[in-house]
């Protein structure tokens, strides 16, 4: 069944990570406390990054840890910490929204099973997978006119994120910097328009 030790270990690790991902995802759904759900979500991110590495994309796996587990989930946990309400606030495990929420994952699961059942098993050739850092860079920043031009999309997304940051700063500035007197004057001025 297994041709080499590498393959055996790869399958074993895949089973391990897949199981961990599923268990943690179940934990996210079933936990009553928001911080439990957040930590389970970190587990999902970490085991997903393990699966990415096994599939021949170490760069994607590392970015998964760095961005999702390290930065985004950090912010989520941080916000839960800051909201004092979260400490005693426990949501019921199932409510009316759960039924709506269950339909979409079930549909995706049916599609996945159907795809797996009706297509032939494929093997991954690590030499052809463009998951290393070099091939990704060459694909993304191919500046030749005949190239795919992904770098333009990359720059545009960067600009979009910058706009979001500036907008967030502006929104916060209006609340923080303006003293109450000016606020009242501003509202008056707004009313005149």
């Amino acid at each position: 069944m297994f041709h080499s030790l590498d393959q055996l270990l790869g399958s074993a690790y895949f089973a391990l990570f897949a199981l961990a991902t599923l268990l943690c995802a179940g934990g996210v759904l079933l936990s009553k406390h928001p911080i439990n759900a957040a930590v389970y979500l970190i587990g999902v991110m970490l085991s997903l990054s393990g699966i990415y590495v096994l599939l021949g994309s170490p760069f994607l796996g590392v970015i998964q840890v760095l961005v999702y587990a390290g930065a985004i989930m950090m912010l989520v946990v941080f916000v839960i910490m800051v909201l004092n309400q979260a400490r005693d606030h426990r949501v019921p495990r199932f409510d009316g929204f759960s039924i709506v929420g269950a339909i979409l994952p079930l549909a995706i699961a049916v599609m996945a099973v159907r795809t797996l059942a009706f297509t032939e098993a494929s093997t991954i050739d690590p030499a052809k997978v463009r998951g290393e850092i070099g091939p990704i860079a060459y694909t993304m920043f191919d500046l030749t006119p005949a190239g795919p031009g992904y770098y333009l999309l990359f720059e545009l997304i960067g600009v979009l994120l910058l706009i979001a940051v500036v907008a967030a700063v502006m929104l916060a500035k209006r609340h923080l910097d303006s003293p109450p007197v000016h606020e009242a004057a501003g509202e008056d001025g707004h009313a005149q328009h």
Partner: protein, 481 residues
């Protein structure tokens, strides 16, 4: 029997299997040295005597071995192990128990990504095998290191939140906000070095430094920014907002006692160690010996010679192992003899005093002086022997292997070279660790708003400008792609 045969047939592979266990164990041995360095350094800077009380009596001789305060680590360990393992009743139990393990785990994983010696090429049957100097070989080594570093913040966050105490929460929030902020300038400051080298692979970064110059001379601004960010990432003074006796008691570990507190402390010192090793690897040449090439006289004929500027890289070390070993052993021997001379001076001081335990201490100091003198003289003798009699020749190869451009040396040469390079890395690491300690006991701590202002308004902007200038210069000089 099969196992022994396999080990004999595959010595390099066996070493490759042992290293993942050996290197964390060796680093755990460096950790108490770091704690000792902190204690003695603090005492030295504050003009105190320092740790001098704990001792082991040797029965029959009347000797008391204090080992320069090293025994305080042991007494600390015993104290913390036997303290009551108290868990506050109001704590959020699962994360309260999980949190202290996170910094230790990430601190033990990150050394696996640092190159501790140059990759070793060896003859594996009819092929060439390579034993890498890192435990995990990946093209995105530095990124993975930063990823693991960003995970270590969870130890502070979860620990402070689950303690369910206001002081803990305040400390944890201050610390985590600071660590997230300084991760930005840390990543941006190191990008300049990556642009110049053109790789995320730490082995390649060190190799580049071995043939050009050290990173701190190429990227002085980036080096300073990275150093300051590392101070913040390690929660060290002047960035130690996580704790503060005058404001928030113990900060995030207020509610932790015994072994769990010890794990937080272990994590902190591990992070100092890893940060120093990372600074040494990225900006101080890692395992490379010198930041500049040495002039070598090469005979070009009868009575004429030419000066060649030679980089002292790994293959030069292997070809001139006797000389390199002589210099290293000689320097260590001189340091040991100097240390013995220092202790002899202390002993002479004691001889003039009328302290109660004068004879005891004088006997102890005599023992140290003798031991270190013998060790130092032995080292210098070894240096002379190796300089005179140690000569290395590469293995001659035939057939397909002869086409391989890199010379291959016998196993013992590889082993000695790897040990020398490991010591070079650890030596540079300890120098940076001393910088951490020096700053901690010299500078006052910053206020929280000053830290945030420095991080976002000063360092981020300098890092961006530095990156821009580096990119332009690198493109103009190197051409780039």
């Amino acid at each position: 029997m099969f196992l022994f045969d396999w080990i004999q047939a595959h010595p390099y592979q066996t070493v490759g299997l042992i290293l993942p266990i050996a290197i964390p164990l060796i680093l755990f041995q460096v950790l108490p040295l770091l704690v000792l360095l902190e204690r003695r350094g603090a005492a030295f800077i504050q003009d105190r005597v320092g740790p001098s009380r704990a001792y082991i009596p040797i029965p029959g001789t009347g000797l008391r071995i204090r080992a320069f305060g090293m025994l305080y680590n042991m007494t600390d360990l015993v104290k913390l192990l036997f303290k009551e393992n108290f868990v506050p009743p109001f704590a959020f139990k699962s994360f309260y128990w999980l949190a202290p393990a996170i910094p230790v785990a990430t601190g033990l994983l990150t050394p696996a990504l640092l190159p501790w010696f140059a990759p070793i090429a060896y003859q594996d049957g009819s092929a060439i095998g390579v034993l890498p100097g890192t435990l995990i070989t990946t093209s995105s080594g530095l990124l993975l290191l930063f990823a693991l570093g960003s995970l270590s913040v969870y130890g502070v966050v979860l620990g402070s939140w689950s303690s369910n105490s206001k002081f803990s929460l305040l400390g944890g929030m201050r610390a985590s906000a600071m660590m997230i902020s300084y991760e930005v300038s840390m990543g941006l400051s190191v990008l300049g070095m990556l642009l110049i080298v053109g790789s995320f692979d730490l082995t390649q970064i060190v190799d580049w430094q071995g043939h050009h110059t050290w990173g701190m001379f190429v990227q002085p601004v980036g080096f300073l920014l990275f150093l300051v960010s590392m101070f913040a990432e390690c929660n060290r003074n002047p960035f130690d907002v996580a704790e503060g006796e005058s404001e928030i008691v113990g900060g995030f570990h207020t509610e932790y006692a015994g072994v769990k507190f010890m794990m937080f402390m272990t994590g902190e010192y591990l992070h100092v160690l890893v940060a120093s090793a990372l600074l040494a690897t990225l900006y101080a040449g890692g395992y490379e010996l010198l930041p500049f090439p040495m002039p070598m006289f090469v005979d070009t004929g009868v009575g004429t010679s030419e000066v060649v500027w030679q980089w002292l890289d790994t293959y030069w070390i292997k070809a001139h192992l006797g000389g390199v070993l002589a210099v290293m052993l000689g320097m260590t021997g001189l340091l040991l003899i100097g240390f013995a001379w220092l202790i002899a001076g202390r002993r002479a001081n004691y001889a003039r005093q009328k302290a109660q335990d004068r004879d005891l201490r004088m006997r102890e100091y005599a023992l140290y002086t003798g031991a270190f003198s013998v060790l130092g003289i032995g080292m210098i003798l070894g240096a002379i022997m190796s300089g005179l009699f140690l000569h290395t020749e590469p293995i001659s190869r035939a057939g397909a292997l002869a086409a391989y451009s890199v010379p291959i040396y016998p196993g013992w040469v590889d082993a000695v070279t790897a040990v020398i390079q490991f010591h070079v890395v650890i030596g540079k690491t300890m120098l940076f660790a001393w910088l951490f300690i020096w700053v901690r006991w010299t500078l006052p701590r910053f206020r929280y708003d000053q830290i945030m202002g420095l991080g976002w308004k000063v360092m981020l902007n300098i890092a961006l400008v530095n990156l821009l200038i580096t990119a332009i210069v690198a493109k103009a000089i190197g051409g780039g792609r």
